[in-house]
Symmetry: C2
Subunit: 412 residues, 2 copies
């Protein structure tokens, strides 16, 4: 077992997409552990607190009239004219990776154990050692077309601070998003392209918000997963059968995630970390922070899956000390099910009803295959002992998580 360290640098990150075409930035063996740095794509909501003084963050976010370190941000077009910018913000998450696992082939399952997580401290001397995150209430949030106060259709960014001693998060201030012009001259009236630096001279900060309220920390990675096989560039926004932007706060220290391998090497990437999030991620984002994760990777070969909880797995599965969870989506695999326009079609198919249907089918299959239950046994057991939760209603391919406790089976 080798321990690796993967820093976030312009060379080790990719922005807004998963891709089977990316060369691995690190190749490991099954059993190896990797400590992976991730930097939040929302760091420019408060440049001074989340970027300034941090050489890697400064370089990754560098974007002037003459230079843009990471040009492609998203799975969209890279030749203009652009509506939003190169990659078109079709996918927004800044991911570190991909990490290749030697010998991984389609049909295998990659297990990723989250050993620990460490927030990335501010490197600005004014805030040195402190931890900050951003929670935008964004145009893709569940609330956006259903606001009651004026101005309607507003976007609001709330900056939070994480106290690791108390393991809690408190709000510092908020501001209404104002139209921002990027260094290439494209105007962003809404949050429509990642990494645009918010000019704090154009916003009015509101202090003293959420006064006295402390939110327990739930450190986790919102996006973790493998490169899909279906397309060269796949937006990071919709989660899918190889994982990705699942936004479940239970994918935290102690979790073991299992992902179906779709391409040779598996190609694991992660990012989109959160200091805390509720089930639903209602506003469109969580408390977006930069986080370093310590992971162990175990490759389960296709031939060895039968008779294990991984038999027949064709979707992400979570295991921890207490539970197994399956992830249902509005569309189980939108890349294959929605045709060539899957990227826009999935936006029309966002539905918790679809996600509940998918979660039901996945948990039934899991119980029938791995616990050898009949369909009638599986359905009765799900009704009396499985819990279905709203994972998220903001990632195009909406999610419902179906959870069953391992203790139910202790006597078998």
């Amino acid at each position: 077992m080798t321990k690796h360290y993967l820093p976030a640098t312009p060379e080790t990150v990719h922005w807004g997409y998963f891709s089977r075409t990316l060369a691995p930035v690190l190749t490991i063996r099954s059993g190896d552990s990797v400590t992976v740095e991730s930097i939040t794509h929302h760091a420019n909501d408060d440049y001074e607190r989340m970027i300034a003084g941090d050489p890697a963050a400064e370089k990754i976010f560098l974007w002037t009239k003459d230079e843009k370190t990471l040009r492609r941000r998203g799975a969209g077009a890279t030749e203009g004219p652009f509506t939003h910018g190169a990659g078109e913000g079709l996918g927004v998450h800044l991911l570190t990776g991909p990490i290749a696992v030697e010998g991984a082939q389609p049909g295998d399952v990659l297990e990723v154990r989250v050993i620990d997580t460490y927030p990335r401290p501010s490197a600005n001397p004014a805030y040195k050692g402190r931890f900050f995150g951003s929670n935008p209430s964004a145009n893709w949030g569940f609330q956006y077309n259903d606001l009651i106060e004026e101005p309607k259709k507003r976007e609001v960014v709330t900056i939070y601070e994480l106290d690791m001693g108390e393991a809690s998060v408190t709000a510092l201030y908020s501001y209404l998003w104002t139209s921002q012009t990027d260094p290439d001259g494209i105007v962003h009236p809404t949050i429509d392209y990642p990494g645009v630096r918010v000019d704090h001279a154009t916003v009015v900060k509101k202090e003293g918000i959420l006064s006295g309220i402390k939110v327990p920390a739930r450190l986790h990675f919102g996006t973790m997963g493998l490169a899909p096989a279906e397309a060269d560039y796949v937006s990071t926004i919709p989660p899918n059968y190889t994982g990705g932007n699942m936004d479940d706060w239970r994918i935290a220290k102690g979790a073991r995630m299992y992902y179906p391998v779709a391409v040779a090497g598996a190609l694991f990437s992660c990012g989109d970390a959160h200091a805390s999030q509720g089930d639903s991620e209602l506003s469109g984002t969580a408390i977006e922070i930069s986080l370093t994760g310590e992971f162990e990777f175990i490759l389960h070969k296709k031939a060895d899956l039968d008779g294990t909880v991984l038999e027949g797995l064709n979707h992400p599965l979570l295991e921890n000390d207490d539970v197994w969870s399956v992830y249902g989506f509005s569309v189980a695999n939108y890349l294959t099910e929605l045709g060539p326009d899957h990227q826009s079609e999935i936006l029309k198919r966002s539905s918790l009803d679809g996600a509940m249907r998918d979660a039901f089918r996945k948990l039934r299959r899991f119980l029938m295959t791995t616990q050898k239950l009949t369909e009638d046994e599986a359905i009765s057991l799900m009704s009396v002992a499985a819990d279905f939760a709203v994972t998220q209603v903001v990632d195009a391919n909406w999610g419902v998580t179906g959870t069953i406790r391992k203790s139910l089976f202790a006597g078998r």
Copy 2:
């Protein structure tokens, strides 16, 4: 404070409906406690275990060619010809009540504290002192049109036993529902009318099911609530603004439920108790058992609500030591929103997406009104710290529960 005891008798129960026209079977004062017996409407799935030897249950379920103790079962027609029977099974839950609270008026809020719950033992000498429940996978279940094994569109009844020492439930046997003919000669090819006695000579019992699996008990009342103001007879199936069939297993010992009072006296009823249920109640039912509940009732007068967590409350609210939960429905008040055919219309409107929308709006209102947050603060807090769960997908008016932890506000 007076302690009352309300046994389940033919005179103290009503079957399948809430009604503003019912005379109270008990009138109490705010602050009084009442121990209420409830008998499950699924007891006839196994007459020998759940009815035989229990005089109250025998009398309540009595139905011969010449005699039917409780004729109306549901909010539907009581003059034939019947499709299913008197009341038409438009509403199926056997409820004890209504209990009137002196001085309760529309606009007030009734608090119901669940002090404790006690399962009702079998009175059959062959099973004396043991506790049994039934879990039908029914035609209104989420799985019914989506089965993979033959015969399709089957209904399956699973009988469970509750072990109070271990606080767990195990399956005893199951059987496929077979067409049952009631004493009036009406044939029930599916589970379409409550209290039809299953003739065990017509079913094949499957033993040894869910072998070795123990389900932790979650004793609770699936249906608790007040008479609505909008109609004389209202089906117990869809939950609504005065509560009813909410099917949340958290409405258990230690819970405080708050219901808006819609009619003079409040008219509280309860039943539909469960030994355990998962979030979603997927198969259409939980483990349906007979349960006795000890409750305290506190009337909060309209004039006293401002400045409390009950200010502006127009929907059910749960409080326990840890959380507040609001209940979102596909339609917030289907009785007023869906016109005269609300009973059939709500079946076309079943949707988790609608329930999520309603839960979002209710939790936003709760946070803005009772915690004095701005809309922006409420939305950010919900995104980072509120959890939305699937309550049920089987009660016509589907449910999503929005939960916020009280500890967040401890520092205020």
